[in-house]
Amino acid sequence: MFEIENLHASIDDKEILAGVDLTVNAGEVHAIMGPNGSGKSTLANVLAGNPAYEVTEGSARFFGADILELAPEERAHLGIFLAFQYPTVIPGVSMANFLRMAVTNTKKARAAQSGGEVVPFTPREFRRLMKEKMALLHMDDSFATRYLNEGFSGGEKKRAEILQLALLEPTLAILDETDSGLDIDALRVVSQGVNNLMNANMGMLLITHYQRLLNYITPHFVHIMMGGRVVQSGGPELAHELESKGYEKLKAEFIAA
């Protein structure tokens, strides 16, 4: 479904990704772990089309077609979703208005791709759908009228990202440090939400610094990134190994090898 090959990317002429290779199939959860500065978040941003980064080499094929030349919104329409590590504040725009526009646009674009007709939501239908998804994430109804990420706590921001994931129903979900800033209760709720949303048609990239998220969401594969590349891949046991050894030791082993 999704194949990244030899991906190189830089910011301000400084290379961050130095040849990433990774394949994600439908129904698979891949965890990407690595120390700070290893390029995990850059990978997430490059895949979503953040214009701050320049792709210098390589490809990322989604159902066979390279997405790296596409605008961020085109990638979103294809079904690629990034849950941001630091979601930005948009003052004055209510969650409900934002979500309705995002979902309507995405539905329209996907209908156009498949040649189907799109029936837009009535505001009432959309509200019902939104409330239903919010309940899954234990979000209070008042969230709908709050301005996008304005005054949100760390946990609220992360829940709001997963709410968007739930409404946009992507085929490839990239979660960038969704666990950071969450207390244990919030982590449980968000993880449950993610587990509920995961399905046989979806592929998921879970980017995380710590192993603790993986106690709640069990990955099929774990990859370790260092120096802008995937240096080791394995099953869930790799995360535990990392947890006991720490990045430093692993790094030493990696360099020695």
């Binding site: 953040n50 979103a76 948009i90 004055g92 725009v93 301005y147």
Partner: protein, 465 residues
């Protein structure tokens, strides 16, 4: 709205073929002013008021502040009076068909049916249509064009006309006082609350037109009225001029809200003086939206004359390519225990420039005054400009004055975030801009909030690539 023009362009730039009862020659002279007065069969006092005003206009120098292109305005190249028809329709069928068509395109009759209590429609220099809901008429509400009011209610007009804004207030107030025609007269009797808005709509049609409407609103004690004005004009390569005077008297315990959605074409100089006097425990609110025009210089004012008076200005300006919106507010605290709030939001794009210009004045002896000013500017790109000119004249110590100003740019990460959720660049920009003005839009009746959002959407389209 009915008109269909390419999206992203000014939607109201069409014009009608002229078929007028009277069109003055170009330029301003004693003869032109006398002729206006004569055609309106005015009483002597008004004729003299006009001529006195003309004298002052001619002597008064142009302001040396505000827009740098103000001096390019050629007063000799303007038509000062155009009378499109002989009568004022009480139904739209009594209005000349082509003018009625224009207002249909602007959506006015439709809005009237849906949510307005009364409508005045001005085309060039004269009001061509006027209506007021019968129940309000029975309660003693007067809503007329200004010319009819001079004729039918001379005592009350004479008592207030030119007292809130004297003809010598500024050069453009003098110009209006000399050449005024049309505009609204509103009188709301004691204790009467007009719960749905009255609307006036101003349309310029001819090239090089000067429109000088004059509005006077009197809210008797304990009354309430919301008056809304909208305006558009055809797009020409030459300049047109709109210079209105609006005077409002808010008596004890009354409340007046005056909402403007200014959407002139980008060849119109919009130089307007608006001022209200608020008496004991009265509230005056100006909601001022400036989207169109080449240059706007407008600073709605509230003079708080007695204790307990309150003034508020919510101002939103959008300066697109080639536009200069020099807008703001004036709050004059002439009595103790009065309070004011100014909230200004401006958006600049391309070669557009928006300036906030505001005055807070507290007279000696006006103790326990509270005033708060918040002005936020949003720049959409690297070329657009914004500046602020906040003036404070505080002659009393026991006061509480606040002032905050911010300038922000649309951040690339905001655009990226919205795009990653499936919005394109224009949609993302529009959403950010609409969010920015949300604190003002939410104060508007739904229909106008929707209109404001739609106009901003149009300004954004075709502008980002």
């Amino acid at each position: 709205m009915v008109a269909q023009v390419d999206i992203g362009e000014y939607k109201y730039g069409f014009h009608d073929t002229e078929d007028y009862v009277y069109k003055s020659e170009k330029g301003l002279s004693r003869k032109v002013v006398e002729n206006i007065s004569h055609m309106k069969s005015e009483p002597d006092w008004m004729r003299e008021f006009r001529l006195k005003s003309l004298d002052h206009f001619e002597k008064r120098p142009m302001p040396n502040w505000g827009s740098p292109v103000l001096h390019e305005l050629d007063f000799d190249d303007i038509y000062y009076y155009i009378k499109p028809s002989d009568s004022i329709g009480k139904t739209w069928d009594e209005v000349p068909a082509y003018i009625k068509d224009t207002f249909e395109k602007l959506g006015i009759p439709e809005a009237e049916r849906k949510f307005l209590a009364g409508v005045g429609a001005q085309y060039e220099s004269e009001v061509i249509y006027h209506s007021l809901r019968e129940d309000l008429e029975q309660q003693g509400v007067i809503f007329l064009d200004m010319d009819s009011a001079v004729r039918d209610h001379p005592d009350i007009v004479k008592q207030y006309f030119g007292t809130i804004i004297p003809y010598a207030d500024n050069k453009f107030a003098a110009l209006n006082s000399a050449t005024w025609s049309g505009g609204s007269f509103v009188y709301v009797p004691e204790g009467v609350r007009v719960e749905v808005p009255l609307q006036a709509y101003f349309r310029i049609n001819a090239e090089n037109m000067g429109q000088f409407e004059r509005t006077l609103i009197i809210a008797a004690p304990g009354s309430y009225v919301h008056y809304v004005e909208g305006c558009t004009a055809p797009t020409y390569t030459t300049d047109s001029l709109h210079s209105a005077v609006v005077e409002i008297v808010v008596q004890e315990g009354a409340r007046v809200r005056y909402t403007t959605i200014q959407n002139w074409s980008k060849n119109v100089y919009n130089l307007v003086t608006k001022r209200a006097a608020a008496y004991k425990d009265a509230t005056m609110e100006w909601v001022d939206g400036n989207l169109g025009s080449k240059v706007t210089m407008k600073y709605p004012a509230v003079w708080m004359m007695e204790p307990g008076a309150r003034g508020e200005v919510l101002s939103v300006a959008f300066a697109g390519d080639g536009q200069h919106q020099d807008a703001g507010a004036k709050m004059v605290h002439a009595a103790p225990n009065t309070s004011s709030q100014i909230t200004s939001k401006s958006i600049s794009k391309g070669t557009g420039r928006s300036s906030y210009r505001g005055l807070v004045k507290v007279h000696k002896g006006a103790e326990n005054v509270k005033s708060n000013v918040v002005c936020d500017a949003l720049l959409l790109d690297e070329t657009s400009k914004t500046d602020t000119y906040p003036y404070m004249e505080i002659e009393e110590e026991r006061v509480s004055i606040g002032h905050e100003a911010t300038v922000s740019k649309v951040a690339e990460e905001q655009i990226f975030y919205l795009k990653s959720r499936g919005l394109n660049e224009t949609e993302a920009m529009s959403m950010i801009v609409n969010g920015f003005i949300e604190p003002i839009a939410k104060e508007l009746p739904l229909e106008y909030a929707v209109e404001l959002n739609r106009l901003i959407q149009l300004e954004m389209e075709g502008s980002v690539g």
